[in-house]
Every structure is written in structure tokens, then in C-alpha cells.
Symmetry: C2
Subunit: 212 residues, 2 copies
């Protein structure tokens, strides 16, 4: 079995973290990079990621997460935020950045600018802006989970939380961000019985179809 498959078989949604173990800086850097470098629609990165180690803050968030122990016991608790709106300034900022990074004159990017503007700022995607941004966060989550598994860092993706309460606690009201979901990162506890439980997957033939 190859390395990617081994990692994917090894991972599971951790129920009990070992609170005494914390992730080394080098791995945290790689995990942050897996979010920073994640793919997103048009490359717009409509997101922000909070790496929360503060214990008090985590207790508050735990109370709004069905008291799931993962929030307090993991090493790093990552909250995924999406953008509330993508306006023309946001798109300009992105296109300017592209112009600088790739040394392309800004007027050569006006077609791209217009295409993004006509979709995300005023067109079809502007009507589902927050949902569209939330979906992008899930791409980043998938990247993070896979990168973590390869590094043998454990994780638990968390949808069971109250996003509005998170927004309050994280003081997001006057920002361009709102809470989508979270992911606990750290190391499994030896007493987590789920660590050795078989994966439950529908037969591969029922979820993957070849059309040749």
C-alpha cells in the first residue's frame, strides 16, 4: 500500500485527544501552509483561519460546541471563517497582487478582473456569496485533513457548533468574516476506542462509477 493510502487509512475523526501532546512548530507551519496554499474559486481565498491555543477562549467555544472535549483537549483548534462579501475593492486588491507577484502589467489583467467582477461581485456568485465562500472553506478543510494525515497529525472536523455564537465570542460582527466550521488538531488519546474501529464506508462501487 502506498504512502497516501496508508495515511488516509490511518486518519479518523478523533473523539478523544491527548491533552498533554502538542504539535511541533514545523508541522504547524506545514498545516498552515496547506490552508494558505489551498485551491479556491478564481484563487480568491475568501477565508481566514484562526489557530486558537488560548485555553479560556477554547472553553467558551466548547460551551457552544455541544461541550465536545476535542475543542479543549486538542493541541490547536482551527476555526474556519468565510468572507461576508467580496466587493470590487477585494477583487482589485487580488488582481493587483497578481500583477505584482507575476510581474504582469495591470492592464493585461483587465479581462480577468472583469470576469471575476461580473461573476462574484455582481453576477451569479454574488447572489450566493456567503455559501460560495463557505464551500471554498471546505476545500481548505479537505486539504488540511489530508496534509495532517500524511504528517500523522490527528484531526477532528467539527460541524457540530453554533456559528452565530462563535461569531459573538470571536467578535466578528464588525469584520468581513463569519464562522463556517472548525477542525481540532493534535494527537489521539490511547483511550480513544474509535482509533482502532474499522472505517465505515459504502462499497466503493456504489460511490464511484467509471464511464468509459
Amino acid at each position: 500500500m502506498n504512502q497516501v493510502l496508508e495515511a488516509l487509512q490511518w486518519r479518523y475523526a478523533v473523539k478523544l485527544f491527548d491533552p498533554s501532546k502538542s504539535i511541533a512548530e514545523e508541522d504547524i507551519h506545514t498545516l498552515k501552509s496547506s490552508l494558505h496554499l489551498s485551491a479556491s474559486s478564481y484563487g480568491l481565498q475568501p477565508w481566514k483561519f484562526l489557530f486558537i491555543q488560548n485555553k479560556d477562549l477554547r472553553e467558551k467555544l466548547k460551551a457552544k460546541s455541544w461541550n465536545q472535549k476535542q475543542v479543549s483537549d486538542c493541541s490547536h483548534y482551527v476555526v474556519f471563517l468565510a468572507t461576508k462579501t467580496i466587493n470590487d475593492e477585494y477583487v482589485k486588491n487580488y488582481v493587483n497582487l497578481m500583477s505584482i507577484i507575476r510581474s504582469v502589467p495591470i492592464d493585461k489583467l483587465s479581462g480577468l478582473h472583469k470576469a471575476i467582477y461580473n461573476d462574484v461581485v455582481t453576477g451569479p456568485r454574488s447572489k450566493i456569496s456567503q455559501e460560495w465562500a463557505s464551500r471554498q472553506c471546505y476545500i481548505a478543510l479537505g486539504s488540511l485533513l489530508t496534509a495532517a494525515a500524511i504528517l500523522r497529525v490527528d484531526a477532528c472536523p467539527m460541524e457540530g457548533l453554533d456559528p452565530a455564537a462563535y461569531d459573538e465570542i470571536l467578535q466578528l460582527r464588525n469584520t468581513n468574516y463569519f464562522t463556517v466550521m472548525a477542525c481540532a488538531l493534535g494527537y489521539r488519546s490511547e483511550s480513544d476506542v474509535l482509533a482502532t474501529a474499522e472505517k465505515v464506508r459504502f462499497p466503493i462501487e456504489s460511490v464511484i462509477e467509471d464511464i468509459i
Copy 2:
């Protein structure tokens, strides 16, 4: 730089695929597994993935994807489908599977069954069922992109398509699935100028915040 970072730096959204190159069976198996084993909410796997190699079908889909050449020129074109509804039968089927795979008596899983039912079939998530299922597909997309990068298989995630037209072409009307998005897999063409373009990312400090 470590292996994961190298892979993530290497990947980009391919504009031009080399139509003469196809992905070896062993890698296809790993890529399929990255979808099959992907995390999902409650582990419910509300999805299906079509690996399309058929040229005629791909031409039809291309016409409903802004004629983007990735659809026809890639090695395998993967269409991500989400479930239209999760009903009690679906949940029962899942819990039964868990009972069999983990050798746990079915009555020991009644609490889990009820929790899923009260959320996904009749509760909060039932009201956003299709959106919730779509988001899960994006986790699988993130896993696929990262697994592909590590295998040095190129990819292009595709949101620029007409999902309703795809549903027609793929004859999904009388099924429990609808089209969410797609991902082209294969190998970059030597003439793809984007292959060597610098990545455009906002400064890491502006998208990742440590709260210590």
C-alpha cells in the same frame, strides 16, 4: 522543504492538459480511494463520483462548461454529485453497515441513529440538505487535490459549469443525485504558461491568525 509543502507548491489549477498522457491504474486507485475514504459529516458520504473517460460524453459536458479544454483534454474527468435527500432509509442503511463492519449490535447504535435522524432527516440539516451535501463534496475535492499533488498528478477543479445541464446529460433526474462541480485530472501540457507562474496568495499573516 518537506514533501507535503513541495507537493502543494507544485500544484496549480491546470489550464492546458497534455491529451496524450493518461494516469496509470495504480494512481487512479489511490485517487479514487482519497474520495472513497474522505471525511464527511457523521460519515454519511452524501455523494457519488463519476470518473468519465468517454470522449463523446466529455464533448457534451465541455459544451456546458464554457468550452474549457480541460474537460476534453484531461486523462480522467471527475464529476462530483451530491445527494438530493437523506431519508430514514439512507440513515438506517448507514447504521446497519456500521453494525456489520464494526461487529456492534444494532441496538447499541440506536442513540447514534436517533442523533443523525434528528439532525439530517428532520432537524436543522434537513432544511439545508442539498447545500450540506454539496459542502461535503468540497471536503472530498480538497482531499483529492492534495492526494493528487503528492502523486504528482495534475488537476483542475471546475466550478465553471452548468450543473442543471450536467444533470440532464448525465441523466440524473430520476436519481438521488445532482451535479455540484467537477475536477479534471491528468498531466500538464508543456505549453501551459501557468505551470511556471508564481502562486498568488495573500500574505499568510492576513489569512491565518494565531490566538495564544
